[in-house]
Amino acid sequence: MPTASQISMVPVIVDEEKCIAEKGCRTCIDVCPLDVLWINEESGKAFMKYDECWYCMPCEADCPTDAVTVNIPYLLR
């Protein structure tokens, strides 16, 4: 059963200038109820890996450096 990947515009944006994940911060990753934020191995910063968002906002509210913005998913806008 062959599979293919499709791209998707994700609702959560992380400002890499502000994100301090490379210093060990995991706040947004820890609080996400859907577990969709991960560390980008190359940059060491947080990013939205899976487009499975409830736009509930703990990631944005709890981020210590205001690096995270939650947008409404495109299908709902």
Partner: protein, 577 residues
């Protein structure tokens, strides 16, 4: 990747599955009852921000406060709103303990709105009584609960999905098998009592937007507890009494009768006219909503544009900082302003939820399921219309009773053959090189629910729906996951699939219509109290199939007179026709 045969086993006294609302309270109550007991709170996400109240709650919908209502008034209101099919004893126990729980939360630092004399500022939203207590600063409630967990030294295990409840050879619940969502590690938690607090089954139907995670409920509440209860042999009840809620079109957050209603907002048709007398959520109210939505005066709107500026600011403060705070962003994106025009509303996808309807895992007034040692509380358990405060009260009841149940009990002997076969089944999607992605499997099951199982319910359609769902059983051995996260979704999808089948089986069994839209069965349009004034229990047969049976309604502890029984049948505003 190889599977190790060493499955780690942790021993605890009381295992609580789900750290949202009921779960933390159950953990604290168990510790208060027995400080020496080891209590573990298992959570699929992180207890700091999990469950329906991850971003707080804007009010109590069902506060029974002396001077405003009595427990008897409340039991009557819920009995009527639920067309008589209630375990009144269970509702009564909630009502009796409701005020004490408010005081406890208040003493913990949860802020409830008070009037100028320092009394709770109660609002009337229900058809008959006064039960709504605003919490304009309710955004911090999870923090307050978390502090209590720390203080009582509750063990917290985050990022594990419970998959099956374990039973000992005497039929008692004795723990669970769980999957790590980050590392795909399988663990066994052996316990002397288990309390399930897994929330609603909110991912059965597909939202109108088509976005799998744009559900009314927090999508991590996907029916894990409902599926686990079925597989371990516990009865579920009222599954045909779906949860369907009014919401803002495309933004699956509540449309907030409870917040805007007391401040003068209301549900209106396209002409701006009120068409229901009472916005309190009941099946009958949803039926009127649905009819207006489908009729020539639709769609339906939330009307706030007649309110004063300061009132609108108050509404915006509550709705845009609490519970679903991205709502303001949603409105901004479409240029919608409450001051200028009415906001389009719609109805949610179907779900199982005792918080808003009555569907869930059967529990009695002690929080006991039909399996000894297995308790349930909150949105997944069957006490109707219980909302957040009901989750707290039943969490507390379960915690207290489980702490008593474990006294003198020894750790159970584990069924290793069952555990290893479950471990292999749980991990199987990760072992494959290709196959069906969980998202496609889930989308298909949920699309079938929308096509064939949501009301209006029709026998032939439900037959086809069930047949198509059963055909999907052959797809399960082909589910394919590339990492631990996709494996979590693959296991969730199987629980969702179980819930979809249960929705069909329970709906077909009750051959009447009841609860307005929730069980609007077109083939049997009338309510039939002679044959169906009973609970419908869904259970697992010896062959492993889903079956239903009737359970008589226990004698009422609060009697209703005939005039009261029909109060919720007359919700349509007469002038609107």
């Amino acid at each position: 990747m190889t599977i190790s045969d060493d499955i780690p086993v942790q021993d605890i006294d009381i295992l609580i599955i789900g750290g949202g609302t009921a779960g933390p309270m159950a953990a604290v109550a168990a510790k208060e009852q027995n400080p020496d007991a080891s209590v573990m709170l298992l959570e699929k996400a992180n207890v700091k921000r999990s469950g329906a109240i991850s971003m707080g709650m804007d009010g109590l919908n069902n506060a029974v406060v002396p001077g405003h209502s009595t427990p008897e008034d409340y039991v009557k209101e819920i009995t009527i709103a639920n067309d008589g099919i209630v375990l009144q004893k269970g509702v009564k126990v909630y009502a009796d303990r409701s005020f004490e729980m408010i005081q406890k939360l208040d003493s913990w630092g949860v802020y409830f709105q008070k009037d100028e004399t320092g009394e709770y500022d109660m609002k009337k939203v229900h058809h008959l009584g006064t039960y709504v207590l605003p919490m304009p600063e309710g955004h911090n409630i999870k923090k307050i609960l978390y502090r209590r967990l720390r203080r009582h030294r509750v063990k917290v295990e985050n990022r594990y999905q419970a998959i099956r409840i374990l039973k000992d050879n005497e039929g008692n619940a004795c723990g669970c098998i769980a999957l790590g969502t980050r590392d795909a590690d399988v663990i066994v938690l052996r316990a002397k009592a288990v309390i399930m607090c897994t929330g609603a089954a909110g991912r059965i139907g597909l939202p109108a937007s088509g976005y799998l995670y744009g559900t009314y409920e927090n999508p991590s509440n996907c029916g894990d507890g409902h599926s686990m209860a079925f597989h371990v042999g516990a009865e579920l009840t009222g599954l045909e009494c779906y949860q369907i809620n009014p919401l803002l079109k495309d933004y699956n957050g509540p449309a907030c009768a409870y917040v805007t209603g007391p401040l003068g907002g209301y549900t209106a048709n396209a002409h701006g006219d009120r068409f229901i007398e009472c916005d309190y959520w009941s099946g009958q109210m949803m039926m009127e909503f649905y009819n207006e939505l489908q009729g020539g005066k639709g769609p339906v709107f939330l009307k706030l544009d007649h309110l004063a500026e300061e009132t609108i600011q108050e509404i915006e403060h509550v709705l845009h900082t609490n519970e679903r705070p991205s709502r303001g962003r949603f409105h901004d994106g479409r240029g919608v302003n409450y001051r200028q025009k009415m906001v389009e509303m719609h109805i949610s996808e179907i779900g199982f939820c005792a918080g808003h309807s009555a569907s869930g895992v059967w529990i009695n007034e002690k929080g006991e399921t039909t399996i000894p040692g297995l308790y349930g509380a909150g949105d997944m358990a069957s006490i109707p219309h219980s909302y957040m405060l009901g989750a707290f009260v039943y969490g507390q009841i379960c915690g207290e009773n489980a702490a008593q149940f474990i006294e003198g009990k020894e750790p159970a002997e584990l069924d290793m053959a069952f555990i290893t076969s479950e471990r292999d089944r749980i991990l199987a999607p990760l072992m494959r090189k290709d196959g069906i992605p969980p998202s496609q499997f889930e989308y298909k099951a949920r699309r079938l629910v929308n096509d064939y199982l949501q009301p209006p319910k029709v026998t032939k359609k439900m037959d086809i729906g069930l047949q198509r769902l059963k055909a999907m059983e052959e797809d399960i051995p082909h589910l394919y996951a590339r990492d631990a996260h996709e494996l979590l979704r693959a296991n969730e999808a199987q629980h969702i699939f179980d819930c979809a089948k249960m929705a069909a089986v329970a709906s077909q069994y009750r051959q009447e219509s009841r609860w307005g839209l929730y069980h609007n069965y077109v083939d049997y349009p009338e309510t039939n109290n002679d044959d169906w004034f009973c609970h419908v229990q869904l259970y697992k047969t010896d062959e492993g199939d889903m079956a239903c049976k009737k359970r008589p309604i226990d004698p009422y502890v609060v009697q209703l007179d005939d005039a009261e029984k029909n109060a919720y049948q007359q919700l349509r505003v007469q002038a609107a026709g």
